[in-house]
Each structure stands twice: as C-alpha cells, then as structure tokens.
Symmetry: C2
Subunit: 228 residues, 2 copies
C-alpha cells in the first residue's frame, strides 16, 4: 500500500453510505471498506475491471441502517475475507482490535457502537471514520451500546489527534459532501467543537426516529450480511 494507491469512493443512495475501495497499484491487492449489499455487484465489477484481488471486506462497525455487503462479496469473490472489530461480537473471518495493522492502522473509536473502528492510511494521510465522525457531525448514540461520553473521548483522542491535514472519509453523508479534514472538523464540527458536557446534552436531546432498517440490518450484520 506504500506504492501508488488506487482509490475509489462509492456511494449507495438508499442509506447514503460511502464504501471505499483501496488497492496497491503494484500488487493489485485491495480492500473494500463498508460495502453495502445492494451495491455489491457494482463493486465486484469494478474490482474485476481494475484487475484487483479483493483480500478483505472490512466493516467499520455493525451498521444499523443497511445490510453489509461483506458476506455477499465473499460468495462472489473466493478468497475474500470479512473483517470487523472483536468488540462488535459479530461473526467474521478476521476480528481485529485497536492497534492491529492491516496495512491500515486500526483505531478503536467506540461511542456510536462498542465495536467502531477508524482505519488510518498514514502513507496517504487518509482516515476512514465510519460513523464515529461525519462531516460536520457524528453518528447517533442512542442505540447499539451508544454513549455520547465515549464518542466524545474517541473522536478527541483518536481522530482529532491525527495531523490537521489528514483527509477524513466518513461512512455517510446526507448533504452531498465527500470528504473533510482533521483541521476543518476541529474548527467547524457543530457538535464536537463543544465541551464534553454540551456534547452529551446535544446527543441526548436529538429525539431521532427509530432507524428504518435496523430490525433487518442488525441481525444480518452480526453475521456479515449473509448466513454462512
């Protein structure tokens, strides 16, 4: 991954989810972060056309708003392995924890869920934050072991501690934006620039509706989106 990077940001419109394809130009080995089951055929097609070998389908956490594509990718692409946090308690081929390296540095960033990971690609000054940090926002903390206190600590200690010019790629955006930076979020994030107690108040009073796909998504995502 230290040579030239092949990088594709891919959007699934029903759940406004971003998936990220990263591959080494030399070895052609690839990973896909947060695939969505509805767009797996598109993604497998791109992998094939670019001549890549998909090694890992990686989830930043157990998603509640869409079914992961990792199980379906495994069936389409032999040799592809699913990856998720040990703390998620979900089933996967590889269960990782804070500090593990998959060529990407793994940082534990709980608060939206217990098993939230942020993946950092230092060679290209990029981090993939899942739902821990969104552009000018963050994931909700009112279900799936959510905790505003833990989320605040995670973002400040694990993401805002990265260099200012690191590009941050979230798992979702609902406004058509695609990327942000550490410097921008430290300055303009409407929630995480507050004090911790203000942040907790904000998060505890969002009064959000029950997530539409959660009852189908959570059981499916605990087993990679497909029963083996």
């Amino acid at each position: 991954m230290s040579a030239g990077l092949i990088f594709r940001q891919l959007f699934e419109s029903k759940s406004s989810t971003y998936s990220y394809l990263l591959a080494c130009e030399v070895t052609k080995q690839a990973v896909l972060i947060d695939p969505v089951i509805e767009t797996v055929d598109r993604d497998a097609g791109i992998v094939k056309q670019l001549g890549l070998v998909l090694k890992f389908a990686i989830n930043t956490h157990v998603h509640a708003d869409h079914v992961t594509g990792s199980g379906k990718l495994k069936s389409l692409i032999p040799g592809c392995q699913s990856v998720i946090a040990e703390a998620s308690q979900a089933k996967a081929n590889v269960r990782v924890k804070h500090g593990d390296k998959l060529q990407l540095e793994t940082r534990s960033t709980p608060g939206h869920t217990d098993g939230c990971l942020t993946y950092v690609l230092h060679s290209h000054r990029m981090a993939f934050t899942g739902d821990a940090l969104l552009i000018r926002g963050c994931g909700r903390t009112d279900f799936q072991q959510g905790s505003p206190e833990r989320l605040y600590e995670s973002v400040h200690s694990q993401i805002f501690s990265l260099p200012d010019n690191y590009q941050l790629y979230p798992a979702h955006d609902y406004t058509g934006q695609t990327v942000t930076t550490v410097a921008e979020e430290k300055k303009f994030n409407s929630r995480l620039t507050k004090t911790k107690s203000e942040f907790v108040d904000i998060m505890n009073n969002l009064n959000l509706p029950y997530p539409k796909q959660i009852d189908a998504a959570l059981p499916a995502n605990m087993v990679c989106g497909l029963q083996d």
Copy 2:
C-alpha cells in the same frame, strides 16, 4: 494552482450532478465547476469555511437537467464571475473557447451540446468532462444541438488523447461512482469503445424520455441561472 490543491467533489442528488471545488492552498483562489442552484448555499458555506476566494463559477455547458448555480453564487459572493463557452451562446461574464487557459486548460468537446467544454488540470492529472464523457457512458445526443458523430470525435480526440492515468470527473453519475481514468474508459466504456458507426447507431436508438427539468432549465441556464 501549481501548489497544493484543495479539491472537493460535491453531489446534488435530485439531478445526480457533481460540482467540483478547486482552489490553490497558497493563494486561496478558487473555482467551482458546474454548481447547482439547489446546493449553492452549501457550496458558499464551504467556500467561506475554507477561507477561499471564489473567482469563477464555471459551467461545462448549458445544462438541460438542472438550473445552474452560477447566477446565485454571483449574488452571494461579490467578485465571483460566471464562465461558459462562447459556442453555448449563453450569457456569462467570461465566455471562453477551446484553448483558453483559466489555470485550467479548456478543451472544446461538442456533441452533447455545441458549447461543451472539458477542463483539464494538468498539474494534478485531472479532467472535468461535463456530459461529454460519463463513467462507462456519455451524455445523450438527441437535443440541444446533439450529434453522436461530433461527440465520438470529441471524446476520442480531446479526452482519450490525454495520458492513461489522468483521472476523469464527470458532471453526473447515476450509480454512485465518483471518478474514472482515461485508461479505464478507453477499455470499458460501453459506448465509446465501439466503432464510430456502431456508436452513432447506439446513440440514435436510446429512445430516452424527454428530460424532466429541460423546459425550466434551458432558459434559466442561458442567463446563468438568474435574471441579472
């Protein structure tokens, strides 16, 4: 623009349009390619937060599927000037033609419309192709001076002649993809890899519906999206 580039790809979901913000990290001077009237407030907010000076709101062509944001941006950001092709016959502060340089190289790529331009940023190996070339596709050629023969010649002579590793950013994508390369489109574009006569046949038999927003969009876009 030769120093570090600030680059943002921005999506408008109603018309599946991409806008592109490009700015010099040193001078902070910025251009916005293909703004959409619905997302102008978002875009002006990003320009402001990043401390940029928006010099030009640039259109790749007179769009038929959405109203351009260039007029509204001019009213929100004093000093911002609108740019479009001379061949479009639309009203704008600056009317450019093939070969002009706005720090971006201007390439005439007619066929979807007469006034279609592709903007090339050689320093960063990027080109913004408007509707002349889409990811694995191209713009339609059945209205607004459309001509499949001219589009085929434009893409082959002006876009496929760029180096293989140039990244191509289209004005639209309907599948959630964000970028492609010259090499990929030369190999995998389902229409433009055909012979010219096959391409003309395909384009003349698409039987597409009349564009939903065209009757409102065309007159508005001939005057930058706003009456002065």
